[in-house]
């Protein structure tokens, strides 16, 4: 890779942005953006790096959210432990779901993952005794071994290390020897097999890792908001996260951050201005997707180079 220093500069720059973000926008929105970005990265890990478009990732985000919320409330677990349990639950769920879905490609893979997510949605709705049904799991405390993180601003900083750890994990996976094989499978699965790679196993491992990342994001989201509800498992949640990835650009990871920030920021701003905020948000997003076909991240990242070229020509 050409730029080691620009990359380090970007990482340091983003860390600074992450630290001051709650001073610029209110901390609940700031944490939402970071967590949805992590969720979007988990989806991008599959779409952008393996070529599998999951339309059922709400199952892992929402499933982990319920597990973490229940454990934090009923066992009074510290939030990092509750989140860890959420991660493990999401990964365990991903083993059978992944096993049954990775044999399909394209739209069929999307449909199978969606079907499993819908099954979980109805199951959680039915198990009212445990999950609270339509009311969800409410009154989830934010606990950290005696340290007070009840104020949203404090929780933001308490959760930040875990979120950054999640980003790093995704980044590392995509840049590992394993990630190279994933890229090969994305480009040409048959060729990868001819080289001796058992591709279903690779896809399954990627799927389970992706679910774990989505689970980390979902767990922190539920604890941050103090409740887990059926919304988190709804198919529109799977749709929103795919939208964020496409908006920012697949296969970039940074694009997920850009996509999440734009969608959440637009929703937040418009909901206070107009009744039809969803429609307006949708229209703006369509315009962006059509205007930046390679995704916002790649288009924006190409701008400096283009400006330099234009200067050189004059």
């Amino acid at each position: 890779m050409s730029g080691r220093y620009p990359r380090i500069a970007m990482v340091v720059g983003s860390a600074v942005v992450a630290l001051v973000l709650p001073r610029v926008i209110y901390s609940v929105l700031a944490l939402d953006i970071l967590l949805w970005a992590l969720f979007a990265m988990s989806v991008d890990l599959l779409v952008g790096y393996v070529g599998l478009l999951s339309f059922g990732h709400a199952a892992f985000w929402g499933g982990a959210a319920y597990v973490a919320a229940l454990l934090a409330r009923d066992l009074r677990l510290a939030f990092p432990l509750a989140a860890l349990a959420g991660v493990l639950a999401a990964m365990a769920l991903a083993v059978p779901v992944g096993y049954l879905s990775i044999r399909r490609r394209g739209i069929y893979f999307a449909m199978v993952t969606l079907a499993f997510a819908q099954m979980l949605f109805y199951l959680v709705n039915e198990l009212r005794g445990v999950t609270g049904g339509e009311n969800g799991v409410q009154g989830v405390p934010r606990l950290l071994w005696g340290v007070s993180v009840t104020r949203p601003g404090d929780f933001y900083y308490a959760a930040l290390p875990l979120v950054l750890l999640g980003y790093l994990a995704v980044y590392r996976v995509t840049r590992s020897p394993f990630g190279h094989v994933l890229a090969a499978i994305r480009d040409n699965e048959a060729r990868a097999q001819a080289l001796g790679y058992p591709t279903p196993r690779y896809k399954l491992v990627a799927f389970v890792l992706s679910a774990g990342i989505a689970g980390l994001a979902g767990s922190l989201y539920a604890i941050g908001h103090g409740f887990a509800s059926l919304d988190l498992l709804h198919w529109t949640t799977s749709g929103t996260v795919v939208l964020m990835v496409v908006l920012g650009g697949t296969g970039t990871l940074w694009g997920s951050l850009v996509g999440a920030a734009i969608v959440l920021f637009l929703r937040d701003q418009l909901s206070s201005v107009t009744e039809a905020s969803d429609a307006v948000t949708g229209a703006i997003l369509i315009a962006i997707v059509l205007g930046f076909r390679r995704g916002l991240w790649r288009s924006l990242a190409a701008l400096p180079a283009r400006a330099v070229r234009r200067l050189a020509r004059t």
Binding site: P177, Y197, P198
Partner: protein, 267 residues
């Protein structure tokens, strides 16, 4: 499963393994919607030799390749590779028996560089692949051998170019490089020189000869000059069947072979 032939049972197990057949098919047949692309083929490839597979377009050569490498499952019949029943093995399992292949229609990883291709092929022999926690620096140890391989096929200058940006002849060369990277005991090449310029054809032939030592090679080739030059045995297919099998000179004068090729010219 039918019993082993007497030829095998009278030999000691060690001898049977070293100079038995690298590939043996028994009545292998593949039907596509009732059409027999491969029809009752009994193929035997002697270990350590270079074999050419020739025949008119549509004879079933590529289909047979796919049957040998697990990309197609036979409708009936058996495939043995190095004496092991490979009929029901997956493509990656067959590859890991020491089989490498190239594809007739160039099949590469479009968004990866030439060097990344050979690194992937070299890495596949190790257990690094599933290490999602390791740094990609772990791949650096394959770089010297990777560059060497690219040099052998004339791609030293193209190491960092994406496969999608390579001209056709260089893509063919890269196919060959990733097949060789796996140090296969059995090498299957589907028209490795098609679309290459004269100079590249010469280099490819020399390379195939050079790597053939100690390996079993099966080569689909339309260029009879190439066949005469590299192959010790020629297998001729027509309409899914093997119609002749033997040294080049013998096969060349076989009436059935002449008829098959004349038939193709007429058609």
């Amino acid at each position: 499963m039918p019993p082993f032939t007497t030829r095998r049972t009278i030999r000691s197990p060690i001898l049977a393994r070293t100079d038995g057949f690298a590939v043996e098919t028994r009545g292998v047949t593949k039907e596509f919607a009732g059409f027999r692309a491969v029809n009752g083929v009994d193929l035997r490839l002697e270990a350590g030799r270079v074999h050419a597979l020739v025949g008119p377009n549509g004879a079933g050569k590529t289909s047979l390749f796919n049957l040998l490498t697990g990309f197609l499952k036979p409708t009936s019949g058996e495939v043995l590779i190095f004496g092991r029943d490979a009929t029901h093995l997956r493509a990656d399992e067959i590859a890991n028996l020491g089989v490498a292949r190239s594809f007739q229609i160039t099949s590469l990883f479009e968004q990866l560089s030439a060097l990344e291709h050979v690194l992937l092929a070299l890495q596949s022999a190790t257990d690094l692949g599933l290490r999602f926690w390791s740094s990609e620096g772990a791949l650096r140890r394959f770089v010297p051998r990777g560059r060497e391989l690219l040099g052998e096929v004339g791609l030293e200058g193209a190491a960092d170019r994406l496969a999608s940006d390579l001209p056709y002849g260089q893509k063919r060369a890269l196919e060959l490089a990733i097949a060789l990277a796996r140090e296969p005991r059995l090498l299957l090449l589907d028209e490795p020189t098609s679309g290459m310029g004269l100079e590249d054809v010469g280099r490819t032939i020399a390379l195939i000869r050079q790597v053939a030592g100690g390996r079993t090679v099966l080569l689909v080739e339309h260029n009879m000059g190439v066949v005469a030059e590299v192959a010790q045995r020629v297998v001729v297919m027509q309409q899914g069947r093997v119609i002749a099998d033997g040294p080049y000179e013998a096969v060349r004068h076989d009436p059935a072979v002449i008829a098959a090729y004349l038939g193709q010219v007429d058609a």
